[in-house]
């Protein structure tokens, strides 16, 4: 079973609102994660414009030698993306599950301010359960 390295959520203006590291390599510098998030936001927007197909919704999967990056953009423009080991399965389904958790435990929380960094205990709790390897494997069924 391949590993998930990290998870990012960026708001519609490209600001990083959630970042979590699951790799053993240690946490990325806060500035680097912010930079990476806004860089991805811009690249995603550019890819939409450059694409020869009409109605392109941007990059969904970026495959590199050392990692895969799966991206899911909701209709409202919030982007969720995971960086994982090359060839990891069920990442699209996992991103949908994370989107669902976001709508439940972040948006229904009266103490959350829209477009601001996510600090919700219940979201963290449910997220760590969803991301467990055996749970992710079940998504393929």
């Amino acid at each position: 079973m391949a590993a998930i390295y990290s998870l990012f959520i960026i708001n519609k203006s490209g600001g990083l609102i959630f970042y979590k590291d699951y790799g053993s390599a240690g946490r990325m510098d806060t500035n680097d994660s912010l930079r990476l998030a806004s860089l991805w936001h811009s690249m995603h927007a550019i890819s939409q414009q450059l694409s020869p197909t009409t109605g392109c919704s941007g990059i969904e999967l970026l495959q590199a030698d050392t990692f895969d990056l799966h991206c899911f953009q909701s209709l409202t423009g919030t982007k969720f993306f995971v960086v994982c080991e090359p060839g990891t399965l069920h990442m699209e389904a996992l991103l949908k599950v994370i989107y669902e958790l976001y709508t439940d435990y972040v948006l229904k929380n009266p103490f959350y301010e829209m477009e601001m960094p996510i600090r919700c205990e219940l979201f963290d709790l449910n997220l760590s359960q969803a991301i467990q390897k055996d749970r992710v494997a079940l998504l393929g069924r």
Binding site: D104, Y105, K108, P110, F111, R119, E121, L122
Partner: protein, 168 residues
């Protein structure tokens, strides 16, 4: 999304809506409405105790009205206990209070609990039924569980205890 398009199958006759047809309210709709209630009240207050009091007041009105309906139904809480330290204290405990299902309290708000709304409902019911009491909601950490449960603490007025003692 939790609570969307789920058809509930009632195992208990007493839980069924009184009228025919689909009467249940979507959990999402309720969660958003409650979230809005909390957000609105938050803009009207400048401290947490006041917010808690306002939520309780909102619940009180519901409790007073819902009493009639409750006479027809039955909802069993996860546990109802009598306080050991004080004669006049009773506790209703719920592992996962419905209103707290999607709510995470920020660290800077301390022991604030949105269950204050539920406490208000209980107070409204008890007051209307002739059992005046002070009702408060508290988080109680549970051993071996990540999430604390919510306990609704009911402290009856002296006159209730005196009356009950007289009635035996």
């Amino acid at each position: 999304m939790i609570g969307v398009g789920k058809i509930k199958h009632y195992t208990n006759l007493l839980e069924k809506p009184l009228s025919r047809g689909r009467q249940e309210v979507s959990l999402s709709a309720f969660a958003f409405l409650f979230s809005e209630l909390v957000q609105y009240n938050q803009t009207q207050v400048d401290n947490i105790a006041e917010l808690e009091r306002r939520l309780e007041d909102a619940g009180y009105a519901v409790g007073a009205r819902v009493l009639e309906l409750l006479c027809h139904r039955e909802k069993v809480a996860d546990s109802l206990e009598k306080g050991t330290e004080h004669e006049d204290e009773y506790m209703i405990s719920e592992k996962e209070l419905l209103v707290n299902r999607f709510i995470s309290i920020p660290k800077d708000m301390g022991a604030f609990n949105c269950g204050a709304f539920v406490a208000g409902i209980v107070k409204g019911v008890l007051d209307s039924a002739g059992f005046p009491a002070v009702v408060t909601a508290h988080f109680v950490p549970m051993e071996g569980q990540q999430r604390p449960r919510t306990t609704i603490l009911i402290k009856f007025a002296e006159e209730v205890l005196r009356r009950e003692a007289r009635l035996g």
